[in-house]
Amino acid sequence: MEACPTSRGFVSFLTNEVWYFSERFSLDFFISDNMPKGEIVLGCLAPHPPHVVYAENPEQNEPVSEGGWETLRWGYNRLARKLKSIDYDALVIFTPHWQTYIGTHFLGLPEFKSKSVDPVFPNIFRYNYDIKVDVDLAEKMREKASEHGIITKMMRNQDFRVDYGTITSCHMLNPDWDKPIVTISSNRNAHYYSAEVMNEQAAALGRACAEAIEESGKKVVMISSHSLSHRHFVTESPLPEDMSKEHIYNHSQYVWDMKLVDLMREGKMRELIDILPEFTEQTIAETEAGGLTWMMAAMGFPEYSAEIYGYQSVIGTGNLVAAWDPNSVTREIVL
């Protein structure tokens, strides 16, 4: 079989080029008639500065705070409430803080229980976690990615410590931890090649993951875990949650971040991903890891408005909580 027609183009099984034209994540031609097809029920942009978990004071985190970063946290809280109203089987998260240089890796054991101490902000994040993994879904994604020429590896060392990006984003979206997750490492193409290559490879991974989700028959929430602009202050106030000290690192970071928010509101995700290499370079953005490109490619580059839940700086970086709801009935204008 060389290629399959879809409603919007052709899918090639030998090359990626034609496949790239598909602007939809419904890949129904792969599914046998009697199996319910899986789907992406929501895509979330979920930044992971550990400060937001610290500010929430959950029992899992050892340090105690007086709050802080409410604009971001309250936005997160509202998105978490929306998630409670959605029927889904698993959260699939792409994280910048599991950095791999030899391919893309997937958590491959059913449970991880340990303590995560942030290597950069250990004073505010020492979190005891107990995480369930949907290994079947992880393996399916790995298999599909591999079929499409992406270098992959399952991570099956029980001593492995789950990264704090995964924990922070998942905690803020689902503090009850009542759904299994799949964590996907970020292969650092931007370091080895360029932001353009990162964009292409992350998009290929996104398409492969969408295919795996469809075949799995599961309902999945995707999470792209990162800040937008990502220049940090290199000093910290004595009280990290002192909001009188918090502001964006510089104005150009802010202007770029707002440019992206505008494109999201306008439903121009293809355009946004096209300018992402420039944005990433100009603001040393955490989009360099590929998460947003991965998620948008998996969702077929939405042409509808993103739900905007909140924007705030954390230690100088620009952070946005946003979501893409493919269901036009439940899609909202939040802010």
């Binding site: 270098i151 060392n157 001593d159 370091h191 290199v234």
Partner: protein, 307 residues
């Protein structure tokens, strides 16, 4: 202030293969043997502490200094998790860490000690300390590599370490944990077929090793920006290990250098080198990059002028 006493310096790679799979490739076992040689030399020295600067411990909030008296964990590498786990329990020199925070602050650096149960000590530091000081015979101090720091800040950090050594009258062995060329293969390979990623990386590595063998540490420090552009993957702003090593050991070329091993580690250049202070300088260069004693912080360029 009395001059600092650094007995010798070691430059070694951060990858876990010499610790976890030394027999998978002849080169890995040669690197392992070179680590063993360094371990013996440390044992034979009368060093009071090991000071480790690891490129695999990035920091953002200034400079972090490990100060847990006995950090303990089971570490697993992000890429090489399939090679196995690395259980560790180390002994840190807390007094020295506290003294270093003070000395670095007095030179304008933002620094702090880190002492938390379960803090993730990085792969490079774990590999180095487990191989160089397996019985914790002498205590160690690990300092982070700030991801935004460039030349001035890194050199001032090295000088702060000398200040702390002088103040405490301690004799140190300094350990830099870093690859030479750091481009790895982006696919999984049969370890028996490991080699340096490209002839260009190999040629540059060998040139750097010539400088090391000649004891030309300050010359290497001055070549850092060139090295970064030529053979370093652009993960961070600069190749900093030679700056740190020269500033910590002494910014000159008066060393006896010895290259104990040079091998490929998944494509990157892994070398174990020692530098021992001696007399008689080598080299024919003089430099115009200013030496720096005090760090004045960001120059706030982006917020000046028109927007």
């Amino acid at each position: 202030m009395e001059d600092a006493e650094v007995l010798f310096g070691i430059y070694c790679p951060p990858h876990p293969q010499p610790l976890l799979s030394p027999d998978a490739n002849h080169g890995y076992s040669k690197l392992r043997a070179a680590f063993e040689t360094c371990r013996e030399r440390i044992e034979q020295s009368d060093a009071d502490l090991l000071i480790v600067y690891s490129t695999t411990w990035p920091s953002i909030i200034g400079h972090q200094i490990q100060a847990h008296p006995e950090p303990e964990w089971v570490h697993v590498d992000d890429d090489f998790h399939y090679l196995g786990s690395m259980p560790y329990k180390f002994k840190m020199d807390v007094d020295f860490a506290d003294c270093l925070v003070e000395s670095s602050k007095s030179r304008g650096l933002h620094s702090r000690t880190i002492a938390y149960d379960g803090f993730p000590i990085d792969t490079g530091s774990v590999v180095a300390l487990k191989l160089l000081n397996p019985d914790n015979r002498i205590p160690a101090c690990i300092v982070s590599s700030n991801m935004y720091a460039n030349r001035s800040e890194t050199i001032v950090l090295g000088k702060s370490i000398r200040d702390a050594l002088s103040k405490q009258k301690k004799k140190a062995v300094v350990v830099v944990v870093s690859s030479l060329s750091n481009r790895m293969f982006t696919e999984h390979i049969d370890p028996t077929e490991d080699r340096i990623h490209s002839p260009k990386d190999d040629e540059w590595n060998r040139k750097i090793l010539e400088f090391f063998a000649d004891g030309r540490l300050e010359d290497l420090s001055q070549l850092s920006r060139e090295i970064h552009g030529q053979i370093r993957v652009q993960k961070v702003v600069a190749y900093k290990p030679a700056w740190w090593m020269a500033a910590t050991m002494g910014q000159h070329n008066n060393y006896d250098g010895e290259v104990l091993a040079y091998e490929a580690l998944h494509g990157s250049g892994g070398a174990v080198v020692t530098l021992t202070p001696s007399t008689g300088s080598v080299g024919d260069k003089e430099f115009d990059e200013d030496d720096v004693e005090y760090y004045h912080g960001d120059r706030d360029v982006l917020n000046k002028g028109m927007l």
